[in-house]
Amino acid sequence: MNRFKLKDIAFSYSPDVSIFEGLDLTFDSQTTAIVGQNGAGKTTLVKIMKGLLKPSKGTLSIDGESIADQTAAQLAKRVGLVFQNPNDQIFKTNVLEEVMFGPLNIGFSRFEAEKGAREALKKVGLESKVSDNPYDLSLSERKLIALASILAMDTEMVIFDEPTTGQDFAGKEKIKAIINELKAEGKLILCILHDMDFAADVFERTVVLNQGEVILDGQTRDVFPEKNVLEKAYLEQPYVTQIAQALGYNDSFIHESELVAFLNNKK
């Protein structure tokens, strides 16, 4: 998959409050972060992309081909979505079964499904928990199980809804490595985030969503210096960017290593 395109999308949950009106967005080979305050419509957007919600207007296409008449189940072969809340996603009583569920549904053989599931569990570092009950695991572990169960489906596009919330440093590093690996495999990556530092650190492109509208969209490096626009959406800049600005440097810094190298050079 090279391109996922949304054109002129309109959507509302109830007739009197509309969430999107004429939204246009295209996702391509760049890893993309979507940021925005609570209720901005981020989750709604990805549910539309996944076919879970049907827009009242507009078109969705993958590589130029419309996917309007595909059911969510048919789309599952191509687009994977890791839910914001793992409790909404987990429904088997055994970790391995849980992770194998998706692959089996989209036509993997039992052998392939188990192989894929074990690999995915290894990537998230939970291979030792294969026979545990997911409900006995901690929330951060359940989030990783949910992630693994999408990885195991080996879809062309993977969407994450806030994967880093509740994860410690090690967990975040794991997720970062997984995202980079998926990108190297040529998959389309989209990730909803509240963690600006993680967004700045990991993603090539950043989209800022505010009340159902895209108010900023560009290279992550160009997006985060836009303090005023970010403030309008009640978002903070990443710490590195803030620190660099507080020190009076006008260049845009989005990685800690950049700032460190820059400061070292000045010495």
């Binding site: 599952a76 429904f91 549904n105």
Partner: protein, 255 residues
């Protein structure tokens, strides 16, 4: 916390009534269908109940509930129509199936009575915020624990419905086909039951922990949030309903 209930927020005189008065109406209307068990009278009660649903602006919301109970009602008609012990007068036959007048009469009364019950309960539940009702009941001396049980049960249905949507979404996301013909939908339904029940139990458990932590079990007298709410004409309406029930009894005995 998820506070969804069947309650429909509207601005109507029924919504402003005291929950206890509505509860009284439920009791009175059901009682009357037993005191005066004839289609004409029950029809009258039914008419009033549906009229109240319309005044309460929740008639449309009551339709799914009524439809659901139609299944029950339908089986009643069939069973009574065929098998009632008093069946003697043959009314009509569909193939080998013979319907009798007596059975159908009994079935009609039953059907209407069930409709009154469903209608009256819908009126209460759709126009009353459950916490308001439970607070009123607790103030009248009901144990807060029972109050919480009532609240939990009333919240269970919509909560399960919400959980069902979530789990369906999760399953569709992972390739389970839930859209399409009836067979597909039915097939998709059964694997849902386990997770939905499990999930709801989990949420209920979390809620009771949350309540305990906030001192729900403490022996102190509780203060209520909606202390100030006034219900005008409360006594008058309650008196009216009671009066009608007494009238019904008198009618039955001497009429």
């Amino acid at each position: 916390m998820n506070t969804m209930t069947l309650y429909v927020e509207r601005n109507s005189p029924i919504h402003r009534l005291d929950p206890l008065v509505k509860l009284l109406y439920v009791a009175a209307s059901i009682l009357l269908t037993y005191i005066l068990p004839e289609p004409l009278y029950i029809g009258g009660i039914l008419f009033v109940t549906f009229l109240l649903l319309i005044i309460g602006k929740v008639f449309r919301n009551s339709l799914p509930i009524v439809t659901l109970s139609m299944f029950l009602i339908f089986s009643l008609v069939i069973v009574q129509g065929f098998f009632h012990p008093d069946n003697v007068t043959e009314l009509f036959a569909i193939g080998p199936l013979v319907f009798y007048e007596e059975g159908l009469y009994v079935a009609l009364v039953l059907v209407m009575r069930v409709l009154v019950m469903v209608g009256a309960f819908s009126l209460l539940i759709l126009t009353t915020a459950t916490d308001e009702m439970v607070e009123r009941l607790i103030k009248k001396g009901m144990s807060p624990k029972i109050g919480h049980v009532i609240l939990s049960v009333l919240q269970l249905i919509p909560q399960m419905r919400a959980t069902m949507v979530k789990i369906t979404d999760a399953q569709r996301s992972r390739g389970v086909e839930t859209e399409g013909d009836l067979l597909t939908r039915v097939k998709a339904f059964f694997p849902l039951i386990g997770p939905v029940v499990l999930n709801s139990l989990n949420e209920t458990k979390e809620r009771s922990i949350a309540l305990e932590m906030r001192g729900f079990d403490s022996p102190m007298k509780k203060t209520f949030l909606n202390e100030a709410k006034q219900y005008p004409h409360n006594k008058l309406i309650a008196g009216l309903i009671t009066g009608i029930v007494i009238l019904g009894i008198v009618w039955r005995v001497f009429g």
